[in-house]
């Protein structure tokens, strides 16, 4: 039984613990995900173990809100597995700017973007926002999934693309920041860094779906 979850645009099967979004391009899959059609509506299963945002939703994190018509900046979009679900939710009036530094993964996103007309792929380095600031517009949401040592710095460097009151969703991989420290120590450091400049809405660790990862939801003041 698929019902609306408490997150906009996200549907769930409570019994089987699965998440779904309504397909923007019915009949096609992006990463061989299962498709289910119920009463004429096609749902795409959102794999909780492959997507950090989906894992956050499964853990009940507060603050994840994609609306139809949103402009989303996605740093570290890779092949577009999570991006395709966000594209489902924001619909044809929205746009998702998918930035990745690797041509290997972005090639797949280019083909996905040919079918989904609300995705704009960008081959760029998130550490140099000046190289792409002319290619994007102001966004309602920034999603970041870049596992690097300086991942928080990357987020702050791109914060000026977010509208005031906009939401940021940052996936932190603690082992990328410091492999010798225990994860919870790193999460607390991240928490205090974020609270200095932004409103921290919620954060949760993503176990058991992702080991040593946490998702932070912030709002620009």
């Amino acid at each position: 039984m698929i019902e609306q979850s408490r997150y906009n645009g996200v549907y769930e099967d409570k019994k089987r613990r699965r998440l779904y979004t309504i397909s923007f391009v019915p009949g096609s899959t992006v990463y061989n995900e299962p498709l289910i059609t119920i009463q004429g509506t096609e749902y795409r299963e959102w794999n909780i173990t492959k997507s950090k945002i989906a894992a956050g939703i499964a853990k009940g994190i507060r603050g994840i809100n994609f609306t139809e018509g949103d402009a989303v900046l996605y740093l570290g979009v890779a092949s577009g597995t999570t991006a395709s679900h966000i594209s489902d939710i924001i619909g044809k009036r929205g746009i998702l700017f998918g930035i990745d530094i690797s041509p290997v993964s972005l090639r797949n996103l280019v083909f996905v973007a040919e079918q989904r007309r609300n995705i704009a792929p960008l081959l760029a380095d998130a550490a140099h926002p000046d190289t792409y600031k002319h290619r994007i517009c102001q966004c309602d949401v920034i999603v970041q999934d870049i596992a690097q040592h300086n991942q928080l710095e990357l987020f702050f460097n791109n914060l000026h693309f977010l509208k005031p009151g906009g939401i940021g969703m940052i996936s932190i991989k603690s082992r990328s920041i410091d492999i010798t420290q225990p994860p919870h120590k790193i999460y607390h450091l991240i928490q205090s860094s974020l609270e200095k400049h932004l409103n921290l809405i919620d954060w949760k660790t993503l176990d058991p779906f992702e080991k040593d990862h946490a998702l932070f939801i912030v709002q620009k003041k």
Binding site: G69, A71, R93, G94, I95, F97, P103, L106, R107, V110, A113, E114, R117, N118, I119, A120, P121, L122, L123, K133, H134, R135, I136, C137, Q138, C139, D140, H160, F161, K163, I179, T180
Partner: protein, 302 residues
Amino acid sequence: MTLRILSCGIGCFVFDKDTIVDRILYKLPKDYEQRQHYEKQLQTKYPQAHSSSEIFPKRSEYFEQFREMNNTLTQQTIKASVKKDHLMIAMVHIIEECDRVTNIFGKRLRDMLQIYMPGLEHVHNDLKELSRLIVAEQYVKLKELYPSMMNADISLHDWNVVLNFAEQINSLYKLRETTLANLEQRMMEHTPNLCHVAGAFLGAKLIELAGSVEKLAEMRSTTIQLLGAEKAMFRHLTTKARCPKHGIIINHPLILKNKASLHGKVARHLASALCKAVRIDYFKGDPYVGYQLKEELEKAFT
């Protein structure tokens, strides 16, 4: 009425607070490169407007333009990102896959030969020689050359199954040979010093582990020393395990042929020489420095 001129990838716009008063839309992504020309046009048309460097606001009517422009530009940059490094890394992978597959096929061939011609299988430890013989000699001749009371009598029709299999293994060995020769040739063209110091295969493996020649050239010699030993390095950092002395460069003859107590020292000097070699190659310097570096190493450690 404060007017601002905003330039972005899709065009030049004149804003009055939140409304767009005028605009020039670009047709191709490369029009953005001539943006100063278009900005001047608008500036002369609206002399009281000042230019603004802010980000283009969210306007859904221009999303299609942003999408088109980014799509085209991204595809162009992806095409331009293809380099020679990718081919060399692919060749390393081909050689490694050949080794893996011949190993698996070899076990299967030996299983079959142990049943049908144990006299032959028992004599040859080397798979390459074994498969070469099966393809070169006739079935009857092989039974004569490698006699054994356990050699089975099967028809030529059945022996053909073994023969076909041996032919495939042979062709895999040939593929490995030609790919390695090809790789050596390309390494000599692209990174001659690295090829001299490390050898073609090890040099290409280092490029693979680094990701590209550029990344390898940016690395410190200590990083090059430990490329391939990441597991041991993380273990050392997180537990009380000792620090690894070398990564993939252990396969270099200078390290393999020396006694274990010298491995650390040789690895350190070799890594330092490799670092110099790769940097000279990347910045297109003298292609003969590699000879010198190798000579110095051999003088010190053989």
